[in-house]
Structures are given as C-alpha cells and as structure tokens.
Symmetry: C3
Subunit: 635 residues, 3 copies
C-alpha cells in the first residue's frame, strides 16, 4: 500500500513547493493528489488558460519522485462561469437556488454546465494526459457532498421528463406503473410531470423513487462524461472518484463500474459525532471513532469497483465540520492506516499535507501545522510506512461472510420509513458490526453481485429484490439470513402480489400479513433478546426458530435460509450468526469491547479502538490503546 | 348503527367489483363511500366526462344492496385543471406555492377554482342526484388536512380585503378596532392590508384573529357552495363532510350548521402518537389509543350538526402517517366500533375496504389485505355487526355534563399562547378526560349552544365570550366551572375594560390583576394539588375555595359558579368535579385505569382500553383487554 | 438617579394625558420617553404633518414637570412609505422579504429609506429641538431587535460592494486577504461579490466576518445620520439609543461613541428564560432573573459611551415575549432599580406607564394595569424613589477588575464555533459571574480601552486582538488572565503566522499546537476542576500552573500574565481569580447563592436575588428575598 497526501500548490508560495515535495517523500509518501479545486487559477477568465503554474507544480512534485493523482476541478466552477449561466446552480427541495460562494454550486442536470465540465476535462487531459508523473485522475470531488445530488431545477425537471419517457414510453404506462389514479395524480404527457418536491403532502413514493433513481443516474452520467474523456485522451492512467462516508444519495455501485478504482474519504471521528451512534459510543470512542466505521467503508467500497480501492482522504487530526471536533488519540492515525492496509487498500492519502490557515477549512488538521511544523500525525505516518514496508504487499482474500448492500434499499427506506427510527444505514451497520464483533471478515457486496463461494450470506434488508436475486440466493447452500422488509416492494414501489416477501417466499415459505413500527423505548421481548422498531406479523406453516414471549414468530428457518421479521437487537443477531457459523463450520471469536481483527492472505491484524489496554485472548497479546498487533498466519 | 367502508373502484380491475360488493354485504356492511378522489377518471381531459365506469360501479354496489355515500372529488383537482390556472394552489406562510403531486392543492379563496369545484359538483349531482343507491353526499374530503386552511396567496389576500371591508366598512374603523396606532400599523385603505405572514416579528394578534376567522369563513363558504348545489339538485339525500381528529383550524360548528350530519375520521393510534400525550401514555396505550380519544371526538362532532353524526373513516389496523405505526390490539376495532355505537353514531365506515398496494397509502391497513385475504379487522367487524344487530337501535340521551368547546378559543390561544405550553386542545381534553374517568357522559357543545337541562357545565377556557354567553350562564342553576383566561379578550383581541374575566365578573366577582405562565417542570403547590403552566393573580372579596400554600387563591366560588384561575392538575380537577357532582346530586364512579363507560337510553357500555384485564366494580365483571361489556339499564 | 417611564400618548384618549402626567410625577418619576413608534400619527400621509397632537402631549407632560426623551420614529415607517419603495424592507438569510405588519421593517442599507429617516428626523428636530421640556433624544428603537441587523437585500449587496472597495481597493487585494483561491472563490470585480448567504455549504469565514463588520457599520452610519441632524438642530440635548440584552449583532462600542449616553432595555426574567441558563437556574431564579443579568449589562453599557448610561426600559412585571412569562417576586422591581442606581445609571425608565390592552404587547405589564389601577410595581417604584432620594447621588468608582468585551469576538465565535457549545456571551458571562460571586465590582471594557489602573484584567477570549492590544497588556503590572482562542485569528480571519496565540506569545511564551472541542457531557479532569467544551494542546517551556490529570497543561503563567487554554469550569475560574486577588492584594468575599454586592464611592449595596432570606456575613445582616441592604462605606 502506498501512502500519499492531498496538496494544494495554489495555496502556497511557489518557493515552498520543492521543499514540501522533498518532505513528503522523506515522510514516506509516494502519492500526491492535486488540482481538484484550482479552476479559478487554471482559467481565471473564460478561455484564458494559465497552465504554467500547474506545469511547474507537477514537475516539481514529479521531480521529487512523487506520483500525482490529478483532479478535474469541476466541483468548483469559478464565478465568471456561473455568471454566464446563473441557472446552472442546483435548486434545493424548498425551491431555493444554491449559489456561488463555497463549492459544488452546480446542478448535475444542467447541459450548459456539463459542456463546460467536459471542456475543462478535455483541456486538462490534453495538457497532462501523458505526463509521466500523472498516475491517476480523480473526477470532480465528493459527488453529493453538502446534499447536492438532488436538485429541483428546471434543468433537472427537463431531463427527468426525458428520463421518464425513455423508461416508460407513454404517459399511460407511467400512470399505470406509479398507479397515479390514486388521488387523481394522472398525467396526460411527460411535460406535465414535475419533480416531487413542494407538494402539499408526500408525493407518490413511486414518483420519489424514480426521482432518486434519475438523480443517481445524473451523477453516473456526469461522471461517465469525464471518464470517457480521460480514458480516451489519457490512457493507461487509473481513474477514480473519492466517495464519502455513510452516504447513499446516489448509487456508488453504478459509478464504481465506470471507474478503475473506488476511493473514499475517511473521517472516523466526524462520522461518529454526526451519525446515529448513542451517547455512550460517542463518549467512549470520541477520539477513536467507533471500531467499525473505517472497516465498514473499506469493505463497502472494495465491493464497488471490482476490488480495487483506496483511501483518498484520511483524517490526520481534528476536523472542522462536525458539531464537536476532538483530536484523535495518539496512535489512531497509524491504526487507521493499518486498518486500510489490512483491508487491501492500494493507497492511503492523508488530507491534507499542510493545514491551511485560511478560508473554510482552516480548523482542519494536516500532516503539517499551518506554521510548517509537523503535526502529531507525521510520526504516525512514518511508523505506518515502516510497518507496511516491513510486511510487504498483502493479498486480500474472500471473506467468509457476504453482506448485501443496496443504495436503492436506502432510498426506499428513506422515502417510506413507516417507523421513524428505521434507518437503512444503521440497520446494515448493526449487522456488519455484529459480525465483526464475532471476529469475522466481511465482504460488502451489491445486490447483483455473485454470492457463490461465501460461507454465510446476510441481507439486512432489500425491499426491492433485483431480477435474479432470489435465483442467485436459491443456488446457495451456505446459511443465508434475510432481514425485515426484504422483498416487500416491487420495482415500482408497490406491495407485491401475494404480499411481502414476494419472490423470497420461494426460499422461506411465509407471508407478511401486516407490519408495525414501534416507537423508541418500546421493544417486544423474546427469550434473551428483543425486537425493536419494526415487527412483522408473519403467517407461515413453519415453526419459528425464534419467537417472542407472546408467541409471535420472529425468525423462520427453511433449510439454509432464515428470515427475520423484525429489527433484531444485538443478542438476537449474535445468536443467529453463531448458529449460522456452526452450521457452516466456522469458528467465532467473541472479541472484547473495542477490539477488532482483520486477515489478509498472510497476516492477521488486531486493532484496539478502546482507550484502555485490551487482552486479545487468541494471541495472548495485550494491545495498547489506539494500537494494533500483527500476527503472521500459518498457512 | 350501520357499518360501511370506503372503497375506490377506480383502483381495482372492474371484474373485482361485484365480488367486492358481495363480500362487503356478507361482512355486515351496508354503506360504501366512493368517488372523492376520482376526478381524473371522471374527467380525464377538460370537459370530457367519463361517467360510464362510475355508472357501472354505482350500479354494481347498489345491486349488492349497499347504499352509497358519494364524494365530490374537489380535494384532488387533476393536473390539467391546475395547469389552466397555476395560481389556484395555496401559498404557505413562508410564501411557497403548495403544488400538484399529492392532494388538497388548492386555495379556498381562488375564485377560478371555486367555479371549477361548483362545475364538477353540479355535474355529479345531475348525473347521480336521483340514483336510488345514493344515500348521501360527502363534500370534498377532510377540509384542512395537511395544514391547508390558511393560504397566503394573492387570491386569499384579495378576498380577505373584501371580508374586512364588509366587516369594518372603513379603514378607520379597522384601525380603531385592531388599534393599529400601536407601532404605526395604520392603513389608509383596505387595499393596503396584507395577510399577517412574513412580518418582521409577530403581527397584531387582532390581525391574525381576523385572518383566521376569514380563513375559516372561506372553508365554510366553499363547502356551502357544494351544499347548495347538492341540496337543490339531489334533494332528500344527506349531505356530510368528514372532519378530522384534534383539528381546530376552521370552525366546525359553522360547517356543521350547513350539513345534515357531521362525520369524522377516527385514527386513535395515530392521534396518540402525534399529539401531546406523555411517554407513559404513548407506551401504555400504544396499540389501543388513549381511552378518551375516540369518545372525545364522538361527543364533539355530535354537537356540531344538531346531534346527527357518524364515523366516516375508522382505523382498521396500522396506518402509514404517524411517526410510529403499531398495530391495534386484537379486539380494538370492535371496541372502537362499539364506542361509536354507544355514543349514537348513525354509521361507522372503515377506511378502507382493501389495502391499496400502491401510492401514498400503501402501508395503511384495510379490512382486506392487498392480496384480497381478510385482515385481522374483518372478524371484529362481523362481531360488532352481530352485537349491534342484537342490541338494536340505541337512543342518545342528554349527558349530565356539558363541556363548552370553541374553535375561536383555540385560535386565540394559538395566536397568543403567552406560555409555551398553553395548548387549547390539551386543556379541554384534560377536563373531558377527568369527567370520563369519574364515569360521566359528556356533551361537548358550542359556545352559543343552549345549556339548560345540564346538571354540570364546564368551560375549560373561552377567552372571547360570545354575545349572550354570560346571560345564558347566569340563567343556570346547576354547578358551573369556568377555567382560566375565560373572558380575557374582547371580540377584537383586546383586554376588556375592567380586565379579565370581563362580563364573567357578573357571575364570580373577581378581577385578574395579572397573569403569569410557568415553564415545564415548575408548578405551584396547593394542598394535594398543583397548578401548572398558567397562574392568574386574582383580586376578589371572595374567600378562595382552593388556594396555593402561598395563600394565593386559585378557585373562587360564588353561588353555583366557580372560576379556576390556573391550569389545574388532575387532582384539583377531580376534586372540583366531585364537589359539583355532590352539589347537583350526581354519583361519581372512579374508574380504574383504562376503563371507560358510556350510557344510552337503555344500555351501559364499559370499555377496557388497557392491555390487562380490568375489574369493573359496579358490575362485578372482569373485562378482557381491548374488550367491552354491555349492561341493560333498568329504567 | 432619575426615574421615568415610557409613554405613548397616541394610544390613549387625549383627556387622560394630564392625569397620567400628574400621576407620573406623584409616583416619583421625572422623565418620560415618548414618540418612537408614532410616525403614522405624525405623518398619516406623505408630507402631511400632524404635529398638533404631539405639541399638546409634550406641553402637557412638560407642564407636569416631566422632562421628555423624544424618540425618532424610524423603527416603524408607515405603510404608505413602505409602499413607495417596497424594496426598502430587509431580506432574510433565506431570501425572504421581511414585510410590513409589525416593526423594524427596513433595511439599514436602503438609501431611499435612509433619506426618509433623515427627513423625519430633521422635521422632528426642527419642531421640538428647542422645546424646554425636551431633555434628550432617542434614535430609533432597539437597533437589531427581531434579528434585523443582517439583511441580504440588493441594497445591502450594493453597499457591501462599495464597502469592500473602500476597504480593499482592488479585487485582487480582496482575493488575497480572504484567500479566495481556496475552492476557486476568486472574484474579478467587486460587482461579482454577493452576500455570503445561500451558498451550498458555509461561505468563507472571512467573507462572513466582513459581512458582519459591514452590517454593523451600516447600523452605525444609520444612527450617525440621525445623531448629526439632532446635534446640529437640537444642541445641548443628550442623544441616546436603547440597546438590548445579550445582543451582539452590531458593535455597540461603535454606536456608543457617537451618542452621549448609552441606555439599555432590562428584562431579566425574559433573558433568563430565553438564553443558555440551565434548568436549575431557570427554576431557582424564575421570578428574579439570574443575579448577574442586570449587573452584567449595566457594566457593559457603562463601558460603551464614556461612562454615561441609563436604563431606558425596565421590566415592571410579566412580559409577553419569552416562551414562559412568570411574574417578578414582590420586591424585584425595586431591587432592579437599586442595582441600576448602584451601578451609576443616570436614570431608570420603566416600560411602560400603562399596560396597553391591545395589539402585540397587550400581555406586557406596566406600572399601571390596563384599567388604570396601579400594578404591583408602582409601590416599589415609590420605595425606590425614596431610597434614592435619601442616599443622594452616587459616584461610580473604577472597579478593581476589568473584563474585556468585544463584539467582533462574538462574531468570530459565531461564524466558526468549531465546537457546538462555544458561545461567546456564555463564556464572558461565566467569567463575569465568577468575579461577582467573589464580591468584585467589574468594569466591562472594549478591547481598545485603556486598561491602566485596574488591579486585575480578564480577557475571556479575543480571537482577533486589535492593533496595540498586546502592547497595552504588556504595559500592565497587575495580574492578567487571558482565555482560550485569544489571538487565534488575524484581522482577516486566518490563523496567524506562528499559530495562536499570535502576538500574545510575547506575554506568555507558548504555542497552541492544536485544538479540540468536546461534546456536551464530556469533560477533562484536573485536580478539583474540569475543562469542558474547548481544549487546546499547548507547547511551552513553561511549567503549567494548572494541568489535567493526563498531564496536559491548561493554565500557563508568565510573570503577571496567565493564559488558560480551555473553557474553565467555575472551580478553576474561582481558583484563578483568588490567586490573582492574592497577588494584587485584594480580598475576596465568597458570597452565598443569590447574593451580590456592588459599591459606589460612598456605599455598599447588597442584593438578595434568591427566594429565601440570606445572611450576608460581612455585615451580619439577613436580607429578605428579593430585597437589598445598603451600608455606608467608611472612607
């Protein structure tokens, strides 16, 4: 695994560049990402290209032996460009334009801006496409950041109508599929269809789902336009995009198919603070992040782009964007780096080289402080570099457990939660975390991925099962656990004929007669477990494997398939995983709080995310807080 | 009491209608409501009427022996209609249009839409007005649902100005009545007056109150236009409208006067979840609803339309629109049906016949599941039908207690809460619930209703006493309890000369010298009771009947009149009701938690809303959870 | 100290004026403020001046011996004026106009409205400028009330661009100062710069800070236009403006320099309810206000206008605008009056004479009730007047402690909190309160104020140290305590070269290597104290004076200077103040809960803010709840 950093030569006096490059190399870095926000310096006025400074920056970095990941600057179009077409900005759900003054001020559906984005991409590719220092391209930056996937602009409405026409052919077909007869929402032409915002009450969920699919497709096609240009003009360079954490607004599997490798931006402390974790976790892991955050995304994005992936931005210290921004415990930057290494990353790139003392991110730490001194992370980077060097390349092996992840499932649960606490990401993360707590490595795979070869398969929920999904499951002979709401919707967001779980009934013969959602603080008790948030009333001739004290069945098993008709708590999940492990012949390792393990083909890595020393019984090692231990596997 | 259901023939293949109709009749239903959202199927293009399908639907239902309540479809104007006059939509308080894509996308004040609403009403009345299967008409659907009473459109502003001119004659009179000299808010013409939204800080409360009165009048006149058409073209059919729960945005007494019977839509579980009930109630009654929710509305709407009323939509299972949506306990659908029966409903109609597997309400249960199988409620409907049949028609008798309810009072408290927890509905509901807990039947009556013949009269609050109200109270010789803020405002939202309680002083000689509101968690202690939220400092020569430990008087009694100058807790309310009962010679029955009773002329019904069996001491019966017991009264 | 009241002759029949004036004088009042909302009565139509009523009102009040503070009515432009230029209203951050219907419906940057404001000010000054009863002028009313300082109108954008051009000269200089290269935010002309609202994510903090500076300057120049007119046409009258509580949206020190004396509007109960105080304080001081609220503002505003100040509006009973509005304990109105007296106020004016029974403030108490009877406060005013008369004029002396306050600091912390609980006002108030709890009088001074002569100097935080600030501190030989974030930003909102605390390093040689913010409920433990919310990682060769148990230094001392690199809890603050007191030879008095003291040149005042009697050990007096005791100082 290579190490790298994100660097902004345009932020610093040119006479600092050479020294910066030298120091990067000295620190053990071999990659540097640049350029993704530099449009106003590349083209200060329309058509007036100022390449010279960037030529010199690339040469300077390259001369120091660094390989460059060059970003297209389309996330930050300059003011002069926006002023030529003010309607290029996105419109938010409330109808407000999202204007110039920060970044991502564009609508994915604006054809004029798409032309400009292609133009600057062509220009950069032509200028640098065959430069020997350029190792890879990054398209744009963090698609969707700041809630920018959905736009409700005229441009978006126009392309949405065309998208619908291509999908449905006739307004009649659209009406029939969405079942617009409900509430007289029928259209006579595609021109009559608007985005689903600003309705009196909720719009048709089928309308919303198609709008989300369309919006996701817009991201995909926007990205593909750049990929097509770059791959043609600058062949033999990897093309990547840097995804974000806990973010499901567009289908990353779709974008992942178009790029060479997926990367993501890893900020475990900010994610802990900003997401659903409870107060205890937020306190206990304040300076470490919850132990599964980084691994979850590593495993998710590894599944996005044919197994090739990396970390484009790694948190090196406190950040600026969470409500509270503590500092990582000493050791965490090295630990996070090794976690990526253990999961098979091609590189980890720290964000950023030197903390910028100005503008929006001035409180975001870097490897260097604003005064040029090394920040705490620098030594940890060196340590990580040494360990990586020592261990040599690691080979990723297929994990015993596959966990099925679906962006569309996240949209469905968001559009129609039915219970206010039914959050898709939280459900999936909970299943993932339960597996990790039992010592398992996990591959997170798309719903259309091949599932053969796994020893256990988990489907936390998949309301809309894609074509062939049931068939693929039915071909498995390993234990399979299917979660609530799976199969509960058709492709057009209706309840399937014969009710949920639809085609899954072929695997576990049961019918969801009705469902109920439970308010926070209310749970239904079983024997040693509870069901919270969501409870299905199941009709089946099967004897339930787990039932509530009331007698209502929760988990039903048919051969190697199990269906769980509720939101399981940790004890129930753990019990299920243990049974499945037993059935498939896998050993479980109940790990102490804060400890996690990960295996490559040759090594086992143990990570202590807690702030106390932890004894890892398997090896007898006591691992210091925020530290890790590596064991060679005997094969 | 008849039973019925809501049905949407346009949602189902025509070849299912006959079987549906037969099954309805077999289940014990004799009424079916249809049509209220079907405009786009009746008139798919402007002026192109497609009656044939509806003719067949009505005939099919009628041929099965069902009587039809036919709704005018004005809650869902089709897209083509909206496009002919895009300014017909309401404008929200923030100035945003509330567009097409769900329902209720119209402004009550838009003259163009009013013409269209009349046109479709005339067309339906002419087509079906004398059809033998048509038993009744429903105007529109749930006026005000999704916060649609208030609109801040140009259309509304224009009609508001005319309304003001009709009320005040001259701008000078308006300025004097609202006292616009305060903050130089004076107008020189009615054209200068805008709706009270988007002001820098709060607008004049007199301005808001008149805007609310105007908006309520707009609902009333919109409805009356349909009533006038229907009663002329389709005589001898009842006209109704389906009101909602815990909803006070327009004056239902005013609408009630124009229709033949009031109906309402009863969703006890959703109401429990969405309203002010505390965490314990939300847990304990999660699957039953709080025991007074249904009864409160039965008694309220019985008072709205000369005693004739019904339940147009009865929850038959989990709904889709609350934050959490649990399933009713087995038995609750029958229990709710019997509660309506015991309160004198003419019918109870379940919403809906078959759960729609598509569009916005796909998670809303019906009597049938989407797959056509019977849902849990079906058997309970049959059970209720049997009991109703067995008992025969029940005669409603005047209750011992009258509770005065005023929509205007709700507006006044909402416009000027003065204490953040002073919620009108919660206050009134609390008084109602205290009466029910002591075993009393209650009539909820309008502030202009006759009060003679009651044995106790309760006025939880009535800030603006209508003309003649004090005189009517003064003619009573039964105990009367008057709550805080009563008489505290003039018709034009000023403090009356001589201070609160204004003319009520004739009944209880006292003066509210000043008032204070108390934050949540703070209460003033009396002897065995507390005053919360609101406390008046009262000057009177009377010796207080109840006083705080500080000596401050809270309840003052003069002959048969009591004034309570604070928000009483349950112990104080209970003590007051017991004293009043003693004075008037009524016996009280302290009911155990979850138990409620209701009497008709011939029977006493006892309902157990708790999830445990409850002993009803009066009869010695132990009533199962979510069940009821009926005793014949000996006369 | 004089006493007065706020009076609105236009609200009352003319035949009441003479009696009102007589009763005011009889109650001990000698001042009356009038006129500030009367524009629509002075000029009911454009150019038609109706002075006669105001002539008579002024004569009537003057004839009763009252001196008048006459307000310019620019906070309430009439409807006809707004209609002549509808774009004069402010635009909120979401882009919505803030229209007519209440007050303050103008944008400070609208040149047309500025001309109108000057015109009415000239007219009033010419009419009454030499009237013998006119003692002073009040400009406008409560600048910024209802969040009206910031406007995002075209008018504001235009004047902002001019302001930027005057400050920076060229777009290049602006780009360099804000460092707009970050995210390609560079401008080619000032015309390209917009206000910083409606950006996709946060705008550049330098952009925001300049927008706040500009907006503050707009208030200053708006006010100065009136001051220039009044001082020229009506010489020898004091000019004042009434500031608000806990309000930092514009720089009051700047406005204070232009007026003769600062006044403020004192509503301790409302401020307690609406601000950050915890639940215990809100309960314990519900009817008294937290003991430091009034004193804090007295000391703050005394520092705003060269030591001359007063209370323009004093709460006399319950108000109408807080979420909950309790009544003051008997005695509090007198207590608050004496607290102002003890702090050197020139006058205290109660708001308002008679409670208005109509319009927005009808629930706001006065000295009289709406019915003309005296409210509870009246007797307390008489009592206060007697005590004031008895004691005679009090001379304010320099306090031992200076506390540095900066409006710009509040903006910086608001623009970039970095930790969600870092609230500037709360930090400063906490330091002030800790000093008062130890018995100290405090002068709250501007960051550019002279600091010599104080015995202790406190700088809770000052992210941007003004020019010369470090030099002035370095000239002191008394103990100085400098709080977190001080010196952490340059004038253009960047991190200074060499990191925080920038130039302060000359006083305490240390470097803030990094900072972290801590979520609520998390604290870092020291020996007997805790650091919350904010913790700096400090590098220094000094031995820390206070350190965490982890060893991390928190307070560093160098000679007479201390730097505290965290948000100190009360124990740490108290320990620091005690050490500083010892060093400078001051005695501390640990006061019991609720007790506070204040000294003039000749007297010591002790105030009991608690609801229980409190023993003041120093004097042996037991002071009743909501009461005070006065001791002559022996000199």
């Amino acid at each position: 695994m290579k190490l790298g950093c994100c660097y902004y030569p345009e932020h610093w006096p040119e006479d600092m560049w050479e020294d910066d490059a030298r120091r990067m190399a000295d620190m053990g870095l071999s990659l540097v990402r640049i350029g993704e926000f530099a449009w106003s310096r590349i083209e200060p006025e329309s058509g007036q290209m100022h390449w010279e400074w960037l030529d010199r920056a690339i040469d300077t970095l390259g001369n120091a032996g660094l390989k460059i990941i060059l970003g297209t600057p389309t996330a930050t179009p300059p003011k002069w460009l926006v002023d030529t077409m003010p309607d290029m900005v996105a419109i938010d759900e409330q109808g407000q334009p999202r204007g110039f003054g920060s970044r991502r001020h564009y609508c994915f559906s604006h054809n004029g801006y798409r032309a400009e984005a292609r133009r600057i991409t062509v220009a950069m590719a032509e200028r640098y496409g065959d430069h020997p220092a350029i190792a890879a391209w990054q398209t744009d930056n963090e698609y969707g950041c700041h809630d920018t996937v959905l736009s409700f602009s005229d441009a978006a409405a126009g392309r949405f109508r065309a998208w619908l026409e291509a999908r449905y052919g006739t307004p009649h077909a659209l009406n029939e599929t969405w079942r617009n007869v409900f509430w007289s929402m029928e259209y006579r032409s595609f021109a009559e269809v608007d985005p689903p915002n600003l309705t009196v009450t909720e719009a048709n969920p089928a309308h919303w789902l198609d709008y989300r699919r369309f919006a996701s497709d817009e991201v995909v096609s926007f990205n593909r336009e750049q990929v097509d240009i770059l791959s043609k003009i600058s062949p033999n360079r990897d093309i990547t995009h840097n995804f974000m954490g806990f973010f499901t607004e567009f289908d990353h599997h779709d974008v992942g198919r178009d790029i060479d490798l997926a990367t993501w931006d890893s900020y475990p402390l900010g994610f802990l603070e900003q997401f659903w974790f409870d107060g205890d976790d937020k306190r206990d892991y304040m300076r470490q992040g919850h132990p599964d955050i980084a691994a979850f995304h590593h495993d998710l994005y590894r599944g996005c782009s044919n197994g090739r992936w990396g970390v484009m931005e790694q948190q090196p210290g406190p950040v600026n964007w969470a409500r509270f921004n503590p500092a990582p415990l000493p050791g965490m930057v090295a630990l996070w780096t090794m976690e990526a290494f253990a999961h098979g990353a091609e590189f980890t790139s720290y964000f950023r080289w030197r903390q910028a003392p100005f503008a929006q991110e001035q409180m975001h730490a870097g490897l260097l402080r604003p005064d040029g001194e090394e920040a705490q992370a620098a030594d940890e980077v060196r340590e990580a570099a040494r360990v990586i060097e020592r261990l040599g390349p690691q080979q990723t092996v297929k994990a015993p457990a596959a966990l099925v992840f679906s962006y569309e499932a996240a949209w469905v649960c968001g559009i129609q939660p039915q219970g206010g606490s039914f959050r898709y990401l939280e459900l999936v993360y909970g299943w993932y975390s339960a597996l990790r707590r039992l010592g398992f490595d996990v591959d997170i795979v798309a719903a259309d991925a091949a599932l053969d070869g796994y020893e256990m398969v988990f489907v936390p929920t998949l309301p809309i099962a894609p074509d062939g999904f049931v068939k693929r499951l039915s071909a498995l002979d390993c234990p399979v656990l299917i979660g609530p709401r799976t199969g509960s919707k058709t492709h057009s967001f209706s309840i399937p004929d014969g009710l949920a779980p639809g085609g899954l009934r072929d695997l576990v013969p049961l019918t969801i007669a009705r469902v109920e959602s439970l308010r926070d603080g209310v749970a239904e008790e079983g024997d040693g477990f509870e069901v919270m948030r969501w409870l299905e009333h199941i009709e089946s001739e099967l004897v339930p494997e787990f039932a509530l004290k009331s007698g209502r069945g929760v988990v039903f098993r048919n051969e190697n398939y199990r269906y769980c008709g509720g939101w399981p708590d940790r004890p129930l999940l753990t019990a299920l995983i243990k049974r499945m492990s037993d059935e498939t012949g896998l050993a479980t390792t109940v790990l102490p709080k804060g400890l996690r393990i990960r295996r490559t083909a040759t090594h086992q890595f143990a990570f202590n995310y807690s702030s106390e020393p932890v004894l890892f019984e398997q090896t007898g090692q006591t691992i210091a807080p925020a530290s890790f231990a590596i064991t060679a596997l005997t094969t």
